[in-house]
């Protein structure tokens, strides 16, 4: 286990020297999930996990891999459409949670006339716009600055594979996440993939067999915490089987 990680329990105060100190332009310390500020100057954790700090962004949060997904602004998620109201689709991010709203107009090129028709239980790849405790989370499928979908929108075909929240985070974190499986597979195999922070990936490998193989390989990396070497080995095995 890495020596520098600090493990906290709910109620533990995080000492000032463990937190990044605000310097330069960025004056404010940003507290991420799992931390709360108790005035005047105490920072305490609310969940179990490892303290992670980012000096560049002057941010600190608690990393944890268990529990239900809590929507956070900016997250990419795979949402399930439940119902449609006059202006928006009601979606769920995890089963049995209150609805998140996805406005009919929050799709690329959508107008009042050409809004997409989505049946109940269809899947959408979306980004969380707002997530506060007092309002239902709002989702969007367009980039507000460009008006383009940027890969978001209704998901056709493919299969959903459940992964842990930590794995989802790793897969979206790029090189830092240490997931090299997809690149290794991608050298030989064409497939589409959408990773949701809410603990799901949608894989479409064209054929049933390849979709299954890729999805299960991802789950294996997650469950067995495979390192880079092991992932490459797994990728070879998968490519051979398909």
């Amino acid at each position: 286990m890495a020596v520098d990680t600090m493990i906290v329990l709910p109620g533990d105060e995080v000492p000032q020297d463990a937190l990044p100190t605000p310097t330069g332009k960025k004056k404010q310390l940003t507290l991420g999930p799992g931390l709360r500020h108790i005035p005047p100057s105490t920072v305490a954790s609310t969940i179990v996990g490892a303290l992670v700090t980012d000096d560049k962004k002057v941010a600190a949060w608690i990393e944890s891999n268990s529990g239900r997904y809590l929507p956070t602004a900016g997250d990419l998620v795979i949402a399930t459409v439940q119902t449609s109201t006059a202006e928006a689709f009601n979606c769920t991010l995890t089963p049995h949670t209150p609805y998140a709203t996805l406005p009919h107009l929050a799709f690329e090129g959508a107008t009042k006339k050409t809004r997409p028709q989505l049946a109940p239980n269809s899947l959408v790849y979306a980004r969380v716009v707002t997530a506060t405790k007092d309002f239902a989370p709002e989702l969007t499928c367009v980039d507000p600055s460009t008006g383009k979908s940027e890969g978001l929108g209704p998901i056709k075909g493919g299969m959903v594979f459940k992964i842990s929240l930590g794995m989802a985070r790793r897969m979206l974190a790029g090189s830092k996440g240490g997931v090299v499986l997809l690149e290794a597979l991608g050298e030989k195999l064409g497939f589409e993939i959408a990773v949701g922070r809410n603990g799901a990936v949608v894989v479409d490998g064209g054929k049933v067999k390849s979709t299954l193989a890729i999805g299960k390989a991802i789950q294996e990396v997650d469950e067995q915490a495979l390192g880079e070497k092991a992932q490459k080995k797994l990728a070879e095995r998968v490519l051979k089987s398909v």
Binding site: P10, T46, G49, E63, R68, T97, R170
Partner: protein, 252 residues
Amino acid sequence: MAPEAILSHLHRADGSATYTHNGYCIIGAVNGPIEVLRRDEMPEEATVEVNVRPAVGVGSPKERHLETLLHSTLRSIILTRSIPRTLVQITLQVRSLPDEESSTGVSPSLLLLPHLLHTSLLALLSASIPLSTTLTAVLIALPSTNTATASTQLLSPTAQELLRAKPIRSAHVFAFSGEGKLLLNESDGTFSYEEWDEAAEAAQEVCCKEDGGVGLGEGMEVDGREGQNLDDWLRSVVRTKVGHEQRWKSTS
């Protein structure tokens, strides 16, 4: 023997824990924050629901009573205001009890209560429900044979130990928050204020962080327990959990 705990081992629940101690085995599961029924919804707070399910049969008033105690205790450590209009659902299934439980002469609810508290805390931690603090709890039994002194107190006794020390004059359950504040006390039997005070002090020693180098109660060492209190135990459980989650970082 320190309690044994396995965390996040159920697939459906958001958080889960199996807790084994002194012949008790309890499986705890937490779902949350999830959608709450309209009639239970609270505008500014989360609703907390506790279900205690006995090993044999369906719930009885005894379980309802335990649920009430757990509900009020857990509500005070869950940051309900940070997840308003949602439900945190805690289910505790008693898997096994020591055979001698019924003949100890101590209220079965009191015997079970500290274990239920620990199980629910572990399950809440596993579900990453925001908490203001942790909690630890202990049962202290005072046998009637001797005059009550610290040395005759039975700290977290097994059912066997209780049988041997029968009759028990009073039994006390104390639960402390991570900061060492008293969260819950349930006492049963006849006892003097001094006895209660001593029991509370002993309980605090077992439950909370050592500050100022106060050692463990002597009774503990006689029984051959590890030199560890419950707060340390909790931290070690959590360390294993986080270690397991982060193991991908250290593998190749």
